[in-house]
Amino acid sequence: MTAEGSAPQLTLVAGSKSRSEASPSAIQIEGFSAYYGKNCIISDLSLIIPDKGVTCLLGPSGTGKSTLLRWLNRINEDTENASFAGRIKILGRDVMRDYPDVTELRREIGMVFQQPCVFPCSIYDNMLMGLRNFKLSKSETRNIIETSLKQAALWDEVANRLEAPATSLSLGQQQRLCIARALALKPKVLLFDEPTASIDPISSRVIEDLVMSLSENISIVMVTHNIAQTKRIADHVVFMCDGKIVEQGSRSHMFSLATCDKTRTYITEEFCDC
């Protein structure tokens, strides 16, 4: 982590900004395989995820989408029997080798899980959770929390009850709090693991809109097996099946001009025989 700048700063360090401008891709995955014990979940997968915008990893359950996502910020390395081979670069830095302190990586790459999970403390303390790593003054902290909650479209609902327990929020609100919590760290990449799978349809729509607005500034990778959702929000679609990429391309390409039979079958019939 750079220690440049004498005062605690909230701005992006200049170097990394120019670097991300230089590379049009946010994430480069080369020859990546993932295993649980001897079971090969992902085999020799290569993929480039573009900078900014929403990239959806689409496919039936159990095809390694979540596993791939969980390796991007190395959450999976604490899972029993999990191992990998290959190389993942995020914004030019090798995830496995260039981050001796894994927490640095996780601060740069936010992640939101399928099940909303707020910590059993106040909304404010939930927001504070990730910020504890930084030397920030009270007002700076408050500013960041307010901005992040606004970004997550939650500010209006919680502004007057930041000290209320986070568990008192509805599930949809909890999930947005999880997103705001991640946003407070100013991540360059956000990973979503089926963020709307356990939430009611109306709240899901709110979160979808939120994801799209965030994607203007942040590269978003989202795992989903919801085709309608992909159709609504994806800029780029990667169709995965059985640990391999079947086809990928822009949303318009995938939903109208897909060349592969498998893709077409899956998109129209939600069925995959691989």
Partner: protein, 299 residues
């Protein structure tokens, strides 16, 4: 199969009633036993309680002179318990954290089984180890004539309650769902912060229960303590000197119950001490059960 309907039910009703009566009798019996034990102790405490000038709150124990000062024993019990807690709790807690964080469920199961076997080592065997090794080591380390002192008893007790505390604490930590840990990790928190900020608030009541239960065990432990504490019925001087010999309620009971005459004031004083001990351990256990049963309130 039309005959089936015509058949009388095989079981006559009084059989069911006999089973019910048997269950009721067992249940009543198992509740009455506690009452019987407590009332027996209370009744036998009578003689010393009705005795004037028994000097129970003094520091002199001399049955021949009618002095039954229990303070040295009560103090010894508390002191030894505190040392045991100091020995067992930090190590137990940190080890429990390690075990609950380990990736390998095989290692975890192995450690849990070994701990279960460890709790099966009888206290008299701990006592033998204390006599054969620990008290010699302590004597050498502090350059003492004899290692049969309060410190030795405390360390030995600490070792004895460690498995109990460790398993229960590990249970409390592991019942916190993994998603909390994953979410905290995804925010880039370090492990100690994850523990302090997300695991501990949810596991603390389970850990408190484990601690109280372990303390209760420590207070009631007899054989090991009796063999290594030195059996001296005096307050240590200075008061908190762990290097002096001492006496706990249990070691006193173990040493003297067999030697005192049944029905005498001496015997009654011992029974009364036992009653004090039982009251404390029962209260501790009931509080700890309360903590242990509400460990999942947040989830």
């Amino acid at each position: 199969m039309s005959t089936l309907a015509a058949m009388p039910p095989k079981s006559a009703p009084q059989h069911g009633d006999a089973l019910k009566a048997y269950c009721q009798i067992s249940a009543i019996l198992s509740v009455l036993i506690v009452a019987l034990i407590l009332s027996t102790l209370i009744l036998q405490s009578g003689p010393v309680l009705s005795l004037k000038n028994s000097g129970m709150f003094s520091t002199h124990w001399n049955p021949d002179a009618g002095q039954y000062g229990m303070m040295p024993m009560v103090f010894g019990s508390v002191f030894v318990m505190i040392i045991a807690a100091i020995v067992a709790f930090p190590i137990g807690l940190m080890t429990a954290i390690y075990i609950s964080e380990t990736r390998s469920s095989k290692l975890r199961r192995f450690i849990k089984s070994v701990l279960e076997l460890l709790t099966g080592i009888p206290s008299i065997v701990y006592g033998l180890i204390g006599v054969a090794y620990l008290n010699i080591w302590v004597a050498e380390a502090f350059d003492l004539q004899s290692g049969r002192i309060i410190l030795t008893a405390g360390i030995l007790l600490g070792i004895m309650i460690l498995p109990t505390f460790l398993t229960l604490t590990e249970d409390a930590i592991s019942t916190v769902p993994a998603r909390f840990r994953e979410n905290a990790k995804a925010l880039g928190l370090y492990r100690h912060e994850i523990f302090k900020l997300t695991i501990l608030p949810q596991a603390k009541s389970g850990i408190a229960g484990a601690g109280l239960l372990a303390i209760g065990r420590a207070l009631g432990e007899t054989m090991a303590v009796m063999l290594v504490i030195g059996s001296l019925d005096r307050l240590p001087s200075p008061l908190f000197n762990p290097l002096s010999s001492g006496q706990t309620i249990t070691s006193k009971l173990g040493r003297e119950v067999g030697e005192s005459a049944f029905g005498s004031a001496h015997f009654s004083a011992l029974v009364f001490m036992s009653l004090i001990l039982v009251s404390i351990t029962i209260v501790l256990t009931i509080i700890s059960q309360y903590f242990l049963s509400r460990k999942n309130t947040y989830v």
